[in-house]
């Protein structure tokens, strides 16, 4: 009953977020939000890694399941700030593909790493992810809308991963998660091979 207030929070936020886009007829806010929102979703490597972070977080259980979605955007911002400062990270795209392999494998073997190590693994990916998108920020038509779109898309992919990860509550679900982790790992290997060969 008391959780009924949550829609009450989400609704005004969504509506408030929607109205400026309609109110300003220029392409600035809408265009900025859309381009930021699309980036994490249309890059299959980013998408897989993000969903994998959510699934792995759910597999690890508390405190990872709630610490990851809170910490990830902030670590990712660190990567974005490095990009804005003109500091290059080596082989960003290769690191992201490698993250897909590692995260998929960790899910497949249901690895229970200590929380600090889990944070390090995820932070390497988060920094690269933020760096890849921070590079595009200065050129964005509306930086605040671009950032908002980028952050919201990232967060929603985590949420999707966490919801998938809740399958772990059922015995067959836990197995399905590990199979899914294997599939993510395989996809990551394919992505990685395209970086290494190219």
């Amino acid at each position: 009953m008391r959780t009924a207030a949550l829609p009450g929070i989400i609704l005004p936020l969504l509506l408030l977020a929607a109205s400026p886009a309609l109110a300003h007829t220029g392409v600035g806010v809408i265009g900025g939000f859309q381009s930021g929102f699309q980036h994490p979703i249309f890059g299959i490597d980013h998408l897989l890694a993000m969903v994998a972070v959510g699934i792995w977080g759910a597999q690890l259980g508390s405190p990872a399941i709630w610490a990851l979605p809170i910490a990830f955007p902030l670590i990712m911002t660190g990567g974005g700030l490095l990009a804005l400062a003109g500091v290059g990270l080596p082989m960003v795209e290769t690191t992201i593909a490698a993250s897909v392999v590692v995260l998929g494998a960790l899910i497949a073997i249901a690895a229970r790493l200590p929380i600090w190590l889990a944070v390090v693994v995820v932070a390497i990916f988060a920094l690269s992810h933020g760096h890849a998108h921070g590079t595009e920020l200065p050129a964005a038509a509306d930086p605040i809308a671009y950032s908002l779109g980028f952050v919201v898309a990232t967060g929603m992919l985590h949420a999707i991963g966490i919801v998938i990860g809740l399958l772990i509550r059922w015995p067959h679900g836990a197995l399905a998660l590990r199979v899914g982790g294997g599939a993510i790992c395989a996809a990551g290997l394919w992505l990685l091979s395209s970086h290494v060969i190219a």
Binding site: P69, M76, G80, G134, A139, I144, V151
Partner: protein, 205 residues
């Protein structure tokens, strides 16, 4: 049962509030001075994000500090608005706005109890900042008092609704959801702040 009624009561209020900017912005002049002032802060993304972050932060605090902060915010909006109308302007404050979003939202993500004085100081600064920006933007020929009342009522009402909504949350995951929102907003504020500070050349262009 009573709780449920209260919850249902403020949904239409929010819907009405959120639906208007889209329609009214084209007819800003026709909407009248009060609604012009009411909508002005709510049609700029950086203002909305700061107000949302403030509402979430105050909602995580005990009732008395939250109420004091809301009152301070409204009074500071009014004071800043009067100063803005009197011709006090500040240089382009994009990075201050982004910084205020980052700081307030980080505090939401941390979700620690704040000293009431800090919360009230944040409310004061935020209110003055947004009051100045919105007061200076009063269109010529508008009734200034009505515009001022509107530009205090709009942000204060949004903050009030968020405080009320957050305070009603009890299930643990919903509290986490508020912190996650805070972390999203903090990321946005930090990225935009970083762009101002680290790549100023991109802004000039």
């Amino acid at each position: 049962m009573r709780r449920r009624t209260v919850g249902l009561l403020w949904l239409p209020a929010v819907l009405a509030l959120a639906a208007t900017p889209a329609r009214a912005h084209d007819a800003f002049g026709n909407a009248g001075a009060f609604w012009g002032g009411f909508l002005h802060p709510l049609t700029a993304l950086e203002h909305v994000l700061a107000i949302v972050a403030f509402g979430l932060l105050a909602g995580l605090q005990p009732l008395r500090p939250a109420f004091a902060a809301l009152l301070t915010f409204a009074l500071a909006l009014a004071a800043g608005g009067i100063a803005g109308m009197a011709g006090w302007t500040l240089p382009d404050l994009g990075f201050v706005t982004a910084g205020s979003i980052a700081v307030i939202a980080l505090l939401v993500a941390l979700a620690r109890p704040l000293p009431p004085a800090l919360l009230i100081a944040l409310a004061l600064l935020l209110g003055l900042l947004h009051g100045l920006a919105n007061g200076a933007a009063v269109p010529a020929g508008f009734d200034r008092i009505a515009f001022l009342l509107g530009m205090v009522a709009g942000p204060a009402l949004v903050a009030h609704l968020l405080i009320g909504g957050v305070r009603r949350l009890e299930a643990p995951w919903t509290r986490v959801a508020v912190r996650v929102l805070g972390s999203w907003l903090a990321a946005v504020g930090l990225l935009v702040l970083g762009r101002f500070v680290l790549t100023p050349s991109a802004i000039a262009g």
